[in-house]
């Protein structure tokens, strides 16, 4: 129908080319005349895949969090209940949630502090070759194997490892011992303490913080900083009143990654850390040997809700423009 329509119009106005021949040509004409059709055709495969495979299973999981487990038979009772969410509020489970959120917050703040100088130098001072070097210097660790990075820290933090050796050379062994004797953050050695878990988290997620901060700092005009010092501000004041507020969206954008990734990770605390659980480990334990899928599902809702609030706050601070 549309082809005939086209020929008719082609007869009326010679500026319009005649129809293209063949199946490919007919399809091309159809795409050109009905861009919506092409759009739907292009969107259909990815949306179907993500909608069915990803959203489908996500909803299946959320649904299961409203089921409960029968304590005697261990079978899943498929009736709507909020009992499983109630279990989250048990002291032991609440402990896990608070511990994970505290860790995520500490990791986020520490990575922002470590990331800022790197991002600032790369954005403001590095030029040409150095700029490329800085970029690769952040991208390579970001993309190299997660497990290898964790493994490297197992080597470093081991009692017989390089860190102990290095501190011994500097005659600072007492400092490490004093730190390890502290409650909560200490432990038998760094590789079985929260301090170790914390260091590895910061290390693994640091590149995710550097990149958005750098992106936001690139957009700060240099003359703004010059104006600030011309007007008599010392570097600390310039940082506090000019640089930091302008970099904040970038920091918030980076913190989305560090916070979310820490909330969901279960491998780092399992390999380097104490026996006290994090949310990810609890999820893994409950769905695995215990077979308590509803409780595991309820646990995964915690990071989703926390991240939901976090993203909402971040959007209000303009963090998405810095991504």
């Amino acid at each position: 129908m549309s082809a005939a329509d086209m020929t008719l119009r082609a007869g009326q106005s010679s500026a319009i080319l005649p129809d293209r021949g063949g199946v490919a040509g007919a399809l091309s004409d159809l795409f050109w005349k009905r861009p919506r059709f092409l759009l739907v055709l292009m969107l259909l495969p990815p949306v179907l895949w993500l909608g069915i495979v990803y959203l489908g299973s996500l909803f299946a999981l959320l649904l299961q969090s409203f089921f409960s487990i029968d304590e005697f038979s261990g079978l899943i009772n498929r009736e709507f209940t909020l009992k499983t969410y109630g279990e989250l509020l048990l002291p032991a489970n609440l402990d896990i949630i608070m511990r994970t959120i505290t860790m995520a917050a500490c990791v986020t703040i520490a990575s922002a502090i470590v990331a800022f100088p790197i991002a600032y130098y790369a954005a403001r001072y590095a030029r040409g070759k150095w700029k490329a070097l800085f970029y690769l210097g952040v991208m390579l660790p970001l993309w190299s194997s997660y497990l290898v990075k964790v493994y490297a820290w197992k080597l470093i933090l081991a009692k017989e490892g390089i860190l102990t050796w290095f501190l011994g050379k500097l005659h600072l062994q007492w400092l490490l011992d004093a730190w390890l004797s502290l409650p909560i953050v200490g432990g038998n050695s760094l590789s079985v303490s929260f301090t170790g878990t914390f260091i590895v988290f910061v290390y693994v997620w640091l590149p995710f913080m550097i990149l958005p901060i750098q992106a936001s700092l690139e957009r700060v005009p240099v003359n703004l900083i010059e104006a600030s010092s011309d007007l008599g501000a010392n570097p600390a004041q310039t940082f506090r009143n000019v640089l930091f507020p302008l970099a904040l969206p970038g920091i918030v954008a980076g913190s989305i990654f560090t916070f979310s990734l820490t909330l969901g990770d279960y491998i780092i605390p399992q390999i380097i850390g104490t026996s006290r659980l994090f949310i990810g480990q609890a999820v893994y334990a409950h769905q695995g040997t215990a077979g308590n899928i509803p409780l595991a599902a309820a646990f995964t809702v915690v990071p989703i809700v926390v991240m939901g609030f976090y993203l909402w706050g971040a959007k209000r601070m303009g963090a998405f423009d810095a991504l």
């Binding site: 861009p35 969107l43 997660y146």
Partner: protein, 270 residues
């Protein structure tokens, strides 16, 4: 008086250098440990150096099997992600429509939410639908979060390819397929290769989702995870770790060199 050429203060230089060292020294250490003669502990400094563990690792069938599965999974997932990611990027960048934001969020979601959520959702969906675990269940998970990497690379490039280029090609009599083949593909090609390489690296390295979607199959990261939790053959693990670093390093470097000149795409000036 300050100018753009102002030198960085010493403390800033030191802090930036220390940060970069912090990022790189741990990975470099892996290379040293791969050649240590110490078998039973992570002793530093290494008591001696040997290359015998390279040969030992080379003759390990379980390592080869895991490597083979990882490469297979990564290759197939990348292929799927390339098709889905490019289609999505073309649709999103080419037009404005209702639900556009929702779809771009949908693409990013699998990587924005913690991997454990993707993993356990897929696992519970598989068990609900009674799908047995296989290589394909692993691929299903990997392809899902690889789409975003291809999408990000492609969408950035599509934005720079001018629409008038496509119109000119069609005006000159090319059909849609010819336009795609001769006009769009050469312009987005490097971005797709880069996205594909990053997707490959991402899939090759993925462990969190894989622990949930694999049954008895062992990908290389799963093999490494088991060694990490219960170390049995430290020297072999050291060598495997070194190889993994090298294998992921190459696609990342290649992806960087392919996309760094992305500003010079034809028609980007409009």
């Amino acid at each position: 008086m300050r100018s753009d050429l102002a030198r960085a203060s010493l403390s800033l230089k030191v802090a930036a250098a220390a940060g970069l060292l912090f990022l790189h020294v741990p990975i470099l250490l892996i290379f040293v440990y791969a050649f240590t003669t110490e078998e039973k502990s992570y002793q530093w400094p290494p008591p001696g150096f040997t290359t015998q563990w390279l040969a030992v690792t080379w003759n390990r069938p379980d390592v080869w099997q895991a490597l083979g599965l990882s490469v297979q999974v990564a290759a197939i997932s990348t292929a799927i992600a390339l098709v889905l990611g490019t289609l999505c990027a073309a649709a999103i960048s080419g037009s404005r429509f209702f639900g556009r934001e929702a779809i771009s969020l949908l693409v990013i979601l699998p990587i924005a939410l913690p991997g454990i959520i993707t993993g356990i959702s897929l696992r519970s969906a598989f068990s609900l639908m009674e799908i047995p675990f296989s290589m394909w269940t692993i691929i299903l998970g990997h392809a899902t979060f690889c789409v975003v990497v291809v999408y990000n690379n492609a969408v950035a490039r599509f934005r720079r390819v001018s629409g008038s280029l496509v119109e000119a090609s069609m005006d000159l009599g090319a059909n849609s397929f010819q336009t795609f083949r001769y006009c769009i593909l050469p312009n987005i090609g490097t971005a797709l290769v880069a996205g594909g390489m990053l997707a490959f690296a991402l899939s090759f390295d993925e462990v969190i989702v894989t622990t949930f979607t694999a049954g008895q199959q062992q990908t290389l990261p799963i093999w490494m995870l088991e060694e990490l939790v219960r170390p049995r053959q430290r020297p072999v693990t050291n060598v495997v770790a070194m190889v993994v670093v090298l294998v992921t390093l190459l696609p990342i470097l290649a992806a960087y060199y392919l996309t760094r000149d992305g500003d010079q795409v034809a028609g980007s000036g409009k």
